[in-house]
């Protein structure tokens, strides 16, 4: 995973609540076995509407998505995060996120930033007013800054450290191999297991 420290970019306002991962990447595109190349399927159905915000030329090249509450609800598909990343997004800002989506973001290195509803609203308005508005998201300082909004955000210190360093979770866990061995030795033998084929 690449480290995330600070990102400045233009934003796209997606003023909808409960954006579920079926919208972010429809299921028909989940049959690929690759991890890359999901960008073209991002919001595949909504993008068929020429007026959809992601189709509007003034927002082309944006790297920050600003959305409504409960973003990423529904299916656990990490493909949703891969699609956002592949389409060039580095940050999603919303009043709230669904748990699995947020977790998946942290694994991939896309930063989900939770801000109060009013601040998200203000960001959307600013971007709609001037699509050239730049937003800076600083993970080190835990601050979002734009012309109209200067706001702190929270993220648990462990995850912040991991993202800043770009550390892989599996590597970190393998440092605990001795603890895992010890735990396994103490597990009751009656717990279910599946015989190898």
């Amino acid at each position: 995973m690449k480290p995330f420290t600070r990102h400045t970019g233009r934003a796209i306002p997606l003023d909808r609540s409960d954006v579920d991962t079926d919208q972010i990447v429809p299921a028909e595109h989940l049959r690929r076995i690759e991890r890359s190349g999901f960008g073209p399927f991002l919001f595949a159905e909504w993008r068929k509407d020429p007026d959809f915000v992601l189709n509007r030329p003034e927002f082309a090249g944006a790297t920050i998505l600003v959305a409504g509450p409960n973003f990423g609800s529904g299916s656990s598909r990490e493909h949703a995060v891969w699609a956002l990343e592949d389409a060039g997004f580095h940050v999603v800002i919303a009043p709230s996120f669904a748990d699995i989506f947020r977790n998946n973001c942290f694994k991939v290195g896309l930063l989900p930033v939770e801000l109060p509803q009013e601040s998200v609203r203000a960001l959307m308005d600013a971007v709609l007013d001037d699509p050239g508005t730049e937003i800076t998201v600083d993970l080190d300082a835990l601050r979002v800054s734009a012309t109209v909004v200067h706001e702190s955000f929270e993220i648990d210190p462990y995850t912040r450290w991991r993202l800043l360093e770009g550390l892989d979770d599996v590597d970190l866990t393998l440092r605990r191999a001795a603890a895992i061995d010890a735990y396994e030795r103490a597990r009751p033998a009656r717990l279910p297991s599946v015989p190898r084929p």
């Binding site: 049959r31 991890r35 609800s73 299916s75 656990s76 493909h79």
Partner: protein, 459 residues
């Protein structure tokens, strides 16, 4: 004196492998369920990193999401994914139930069916409806593909401690109100993000009186309220369901297990971070009208006036007008299936209503059993004949029209009464319109041609 603890806290504590200040707990995973859609990139990640699967004996795999449920060619893209699962499981030594195998089925149906889902376990799967297994008093939650890779490599997951939430459904369920109506009623009350960050424990007499199938239906849709997991305390119903299943403990192990399982329920005096209470007697059969599961009313209601932009969008997508009686809405299709409602009890309930009746002319109706063993059991009971005589298609097991990854899909504008779990835009096929209902309402609706309860058919 020991501090009183909740069921979720007890299961959590016994799985902590490593704990340190400022870090998430490292939790041990007892059972990892694997399917074809969210695993290929995880296995590939392992290969690229030169790692192996730590505990293939604590993993089990099946094909469910994109498998065809009727005879015919499999499209090459789906086939590639299915073959990848075969190769990956074979290389890792993971037991796989491929399409065509009698053990095949929806991952959340076969785990309990095999007796692998047991109280007190931590169970994960790259699928958000893993919460289903919480019906046994297991802590079960959906994970993404990076986490699938993490579990394959280490049999553990770093996890932040969740908050706890009690949803108590007190009293007795009225006749005709099913587990599906209970969970739709709960989501309508607390909202699609009502339980974000929480593990729900469903409690109360109405929950205790439900079968394991009913409890699974309720826990299944916990994610639709945003919950990390849903649980029901194990009791005699749980033990009776498990006893004698293939992977359940036997002999003295069974006695030890029982003693342990009886210690799991939430202690008197334990506190939850949030509590919600629902009076069972107030519940009615529910039908969703919108494009998320919180947009749900009872069958006696009308389509509500939109109170925000999201509701307006939903009404436009669903092509519904406020004030329309739910009973006046006429679906084109009825789908009985999915990890929410495809177990033998669901099929029995639907068949009971369809016995001696016919699907309304012009309406498409299909039943997709949750597993090939459920299908076989239903055929032993003659349920298939009831379905076919009524005009339903009788399919093989799979996720099917719940998410439209295989050819079972709605066409644009097609309206469906579905026993599945998500009414998102396009979920069952591009432009498709989904109404979530119970198996009983699905069956009665198929006969009536409009949303109906079984009682409506008697009138």
């Amino acid at each position: 004196m020991v501090t009183p603890r909740t069921l979720a806290e007890k299961v959590w504590e016994r799985h902590v492998v490593h704990r340190a200040d400022g870090e998430p707990d490292l939790l041990y995973v007892d059972l990892h369920l694997v399917h074809e859609v969210t695993s290929p990139q995880a296995f590939e990640g392992l290969r690229l990193a030169g790692r192996s699967v730590r505990r293939p004996d604590l993993s089990v795999a099946t094909m469910d999401h994109n498998v065809p449920t009727a005879a015919g060619p499999v499209d090459p893209v789906s086939r590639t994914q299915m073959e990848a699962l075969e190769r990956n499981c074979s290389a890792a030594g993971i037991r796989l139930f491929p399409t065509g195998d009698v053990g095949q089925g929806i991952v959340h149906v076969i785990g309990p069916q095999m007796g692998l889902t047991q109280p007190g376990l931590v169970i994960v799967c790259g699928d958000s409806h893993t919460s289903t297994h919480g019906a046994f008093g297991a802590l079960a939650f959906g994970i993404g593909t990076s986490e699938v890779e993490h579990v394959l490599a280490t049999q553990t997951l770093p996890q932040r401690t969740p908050r706890t939430m009690a949803v108590t459904v007190g009293g007795e369920l009225p006749l005709g109100v099913s587990a599906k109506d209970v969970i739709l009623g709960i989501i309508a009350k607390i909202g699609t993000d009502g339980a974000v960050g929480h593990v729900i424990e469903y409690r109360g007499t109405a929950i205790g009186s439900l079968s394991m199938e009913g409890r699974m239906t309720i826990c299944n849709m916990s994610i639709e309220a945003g919950a990390r997991a849903g649980m029901v305390a194990p009791d005699e119903t749980t033990f009776a369901y498990l006893e004698g299943r293939p992977n359940a403990p036997t002999g003295s192990d069974w006695d030890d297990a029982l003693e342990d399982w009886r210690s799991l329920p939430t202690d008197d005096g334990a506190s939850f971070d949030r509590e919600v209470t629902i009076d069972a007697a107030s519940l009615r059969p529910h039908v969703s009208w919108g494009t998320n599961p919180g947009q749900t009313v009872t069958i006696d209601d009308v389509v509500p006036d939109p109170d925000d932009e999201a509701a307006e969008r939903a009404l436009a997508y669903m092509d519904l007008r406020p004030g329309t009686a739910i009973r006046d809405i006429r679906p084109d299709t009825v789908f009985i299936g999915s990890c929410t409602n495809s177990r033998i009890e669901d099929l029995r309930e639907a068949a009971r209503i369809l016995d001696g009746r016919r699907v309304r002319r012009g309406l498409r109706a299909m039943v997709v059993p949750g597993s090939m063993l459920v299908k076989r059991q239903a055929e032993r009971e003659g349920l298939d004949e009831v379905f076919v005589a009524a005009g339903f298609e009788w399919r093989d097991a799979g996720c099917s029209m719940c998410l439209g990854m295989n050819p079972d899909q709605l066409t644009p504008g097609e309206r469906c009464a579905s026993t599945s779990n998500r009414n998102f835009e396009g979920r069952q096929g591009k432009g498709g319109r989904t109404h979530l209902v119970s198996p009983a309402v699905a069956a009665a609706t198929a006969v009536a041609g409009h949303f109906a309860t079984p009682e409506d058919l008697e009138r």
